[in-house]
């Protein structure tokens, strides 16, 4: 089959690889009909994610048709149309039972490695380095889905692939980010980053009852899409965000801040240079520019919700501000399985149509072009979907 494989910084290629096989009785094989490139895939593309090996298959946002099931899978059969959540979860461990599916204790065969890096290991994830299990990803024609009896969600008739594909990752991610803000009536939510996750966070914040959403970015097409979702927008290259937010929120600051930027943050001027140099000198692995700003802008007692992906260590974070002002930081890899059914229901009720976020649809073979376009934000690219 054809699959998108990583061969180094800025080097992905679609190559021929063997078809996946059933390896465990609870596996299933999915024939992929749609798959997407995620913003976090760009961290791999840019060479920031450790424990990648040449030839690893990328991709963790995918859906398709079941073509084979293992002997222990009774609730799915060939022909079923499913969306697959990006964390691999067993359903039986302490964390899965608590609804913390991205913390599954049983799905990362390289848990010992992750423990050395982070203290304990989270769940395995498709196509996201050997630290997180080394699982082959879903930017391919077929994929092996472990624990198929508890993870994939069956999709009913009447919904297109583009409408449900994002249940795999970015819609629940934006939604969980908004949910983590504990939104109360009258709240103003500020969101850093108008990429696809930020876009879903905007719409989710309104679904969860926010009064106002203020979105921050610098790319005009992304700010435009944010406005279409009902947000007021701020371009951080034109004004001071702290002042602007203070002005817009009557002096107090937003009630909660969502940091949907992550480790490759950008800012104008000296602060960016500082973090970029520290990264190059290996004194810092991640750049927390958006995080610092969110902390400083949030109102006292508010919440900083961080769906933005970080991998290692950050420097000069104003923790004194966090402590002295009673801020709450909520974060984590999305517990997608918790949101699949409720969000599918919202899609069916037409409360939201996730296909709005797609700007480019390419063939699987054109994945390298897709990565480049997405990275450089060419042609107003916001989200690339690949069709094998």
């Amino acid at each position: 089959m054809k699959a998108t494989c990583w061969y180094g910084k800025n080097d992905v290629r679609v190559v021929n690889v063997p078809d996946p096989k059933i390896l465990n009785p609870r596996d299933a094989i999915v024939k992929i009909t749609a798959t997407a490139i995620c913003g976090s895939d760009l961290h791999i593309y840019d060479g920031f994610i450790p424990t990648m090996e040449h030839g690893d298959i990328l991709g963790h946002e995918f859906m398709g048709e079941i073509v084979e099931v293992g002997s222990a899978v009774k609730n799915l059969q060939p022909g079923d149309r499913v969306v697959v959540p990006f964390p691999i979860s067993c359903g039986a461990c302490f964390f899965c039972q608590k609804g913390l599916f991205s913390l599954c204790e049983n799905s990362n065969p390289n848990a010992v490695l992750a423990e050395q890096m982070w203290g304990h290991s989270p769940a395995g994830i498709y196509g996201y380095s050997h630290l997180l299990g080394g699982y082959a990803g879903g930017q391919a024609q077929y994929a092996r889905v472990p624990f198929a009896d508890v993870n994939p969600i069956k999709i009913p008739e009447g919904l297109s692939d583009d409408q449900v594909l994002f249940l795999s990752d970015i819609f629940p991610t934006g939604y969980m980010a908004a949910e983590n803000c504990s939104i109360e009536s009258g709240d103003t939510i500020a969101i850093w980053g108008c990429g696809p996750v930020g876009q879903f966070a905007i719409r989710s914040a309104y679904l969860l009852g926010a009064e106002r959403v203020i979105a921050i970015d610098r790319y005009p097409e992304r700010l435009e899409m944010a406005r279409k979702g009902g947000a007021e927008t701020l371009n951080y290259e034109n004004l001071d965000i702290h002042d602007a937010l203070e002005e817009l929120t009557g002096g107090r600051g937003p009630d909660a801040c969502i940091e949907a930027v992550g480790m490759e943050a950008h800012a104008p001027g000296v602060k960016f240079a500082y973090d970029r140099v520290k990264q190059a000198m290996m004194l810092e692995t991640d750049r927390p520019l958006a995080l610092r700003q969110a902390i400083m802008c949030c109102r006292n007692g508010g919440t900083i919700s961080v769906p933005g992906v970080y991998g290692g260590w950050i420097d000069k974070v104003p923790f004194g501000a966090v402590m002295n002002r009673s801020l709450t930081i909520k974060t984590g890899q999305t517990h997608v399985q918790r949101y699949l059914r409720p969000l599918l229901e919202r899609i069916q009720k037409r409360e939201i149509d996730p296909s709005f976020v797609v700007t480019h649809t390419l063939r699987l073979e054109d994945a390298p072009r897709g990565y480049e376009m997405f990275k450089k934000k060419e042609d107003d690219c916001i989200k690339v979907v690949l069709k094998p």
Partner: protein, 309 residues
């Protein structure tokens, strides 16, 4: 991280610590008082050179005192000493009036160099888990979402152990309270021994020991304790392997890998996966854009016969 029983510092470790502090002291002196240091050694003061030497010594000292395996840092010290000796040698060979101090300094550095080399050679290089006598002692704890009864019964059939303990090929019941264990390392060599159960408390504890310690001295125990809050069972495993020295000792090391505590960590995780999900998480055999299915560097292989029940 798994806990290991505390081991007293050997003489070599104490020597290493001494050398570490010596390095720190020397480094600080070289950076803060380069003139005095130079004069003491009978050298002309070179501020830049001494600062460089000071930083090197400081780095070595910090490395020796803070890192778990100081052997490499002691070697770095020794290399630094050789550089210093070279420099002193050049100074000695030059035309200068008072050489008494220089000679003394050279002798001192030579002495320290000898200590460094001796220390580096003798520092045990083994990872944690190896006691001074070359035995391997591992303790690990894991919480499994199953009852103590279920886990006890599964473990009590020792034939089950190879299904998640990667270094075991088979454990066979060959007689009244007698089991034959076969273990295999990453290459093809095998170690075999007979063992008996020494303690068996229903749903609480199983302990076993090899019968002929002259070949492989292995003992182990597993304890099952109900976890608070209905969270299943806390499983504590202790394994001891000892081989009477020499060539077999090295083979035992190969058997359990360079990091035996990591191996048992992986084994216990697989036990947990097996009991909670019925499967062991694996990626071997999956597709990839290279000749190997998964990563030689990061992924641990699973023997193919460790099939799920």
């Amino acid at each position: 991280m798994p806990s290991n029983s505390a081991q007293p510092a050997t003489n070599h470790e104490q020597l290493a610590r001494g050398l570490g502090w010596f390095s720190v002291g020397l480094g600080v002196a070289a950076i803060l008082a380069p003139r005095s240091l130079s004069r003491t050694a009978g050298l002309r003061p070179h501020r830049l050179l001494l600062t460089a030497i000071g930083l090197r010594e400081l780095a070595c000292g910090v490395g020796i005192l803070t890192q778990r395996r100081p052997a490499g840092w002691i070697q770095a010290r020794a290399s630094g000493d050789l550089m210093d000796l070279t420099m002193l040698g050049i100074a000695l060979a030059s035309n200068r009036p008072k050489k008494a101090r220089l000679v003394a300094a050279t002798a001192a550095v030579a002495g320290v160099t000898a200590l460094d080399i001796y220390c580096a050679k003798n520092l045990r290089r083994g990872p944690r888990g190896r006691t001074a006598s070359g035995a391997i002692h591992i303790e690990k704890v894991v919480t499994i979402n199953r009852s103590p009864e279920e886990l006890y019964h599964f473990w009590h059939s020792f034939e089950n152990l190879p299904r998640f303990m990667d270094h075991l090929i088979s454990v066979r019941h060959i007689g009244e309270n007698r089991w034959h264990w076969v273990a295999q390392g990453p290459a093809t060599f095998r170690v075999e021994w007979d063992a008996e159960i020494t303690d068996d408390r229903l749903n609480e504890r199983i302990a076993w020991r090899s019968l002929d310690p002259s070949d492989v001295d292995h003992s182990g125990e597993v304890r099952f304790e109900r976890a608070p809050g209905g969270r299943g069972t806390v499983v504590r495993v202790r394994l001891d392997y000892r081989v009477p020295g020499g060539l077999l000792g090295a083979r035992l090391a190969k058997l359990l890998g360079r990091a035996p505590e990591q191996q048992i960590d992986v084994d216990l995780r697989r036990f947990k996966q097996f009991m909670e999900t019925g499967e062991i998480a694996r990626t071997e055999g999956q597709p990839a854009g290279r000749s190997r299915s998964n990563s030689l560097k990061f992924d641990r292989p699973i023997r193919n016969d460790l099939a799920a029940k």
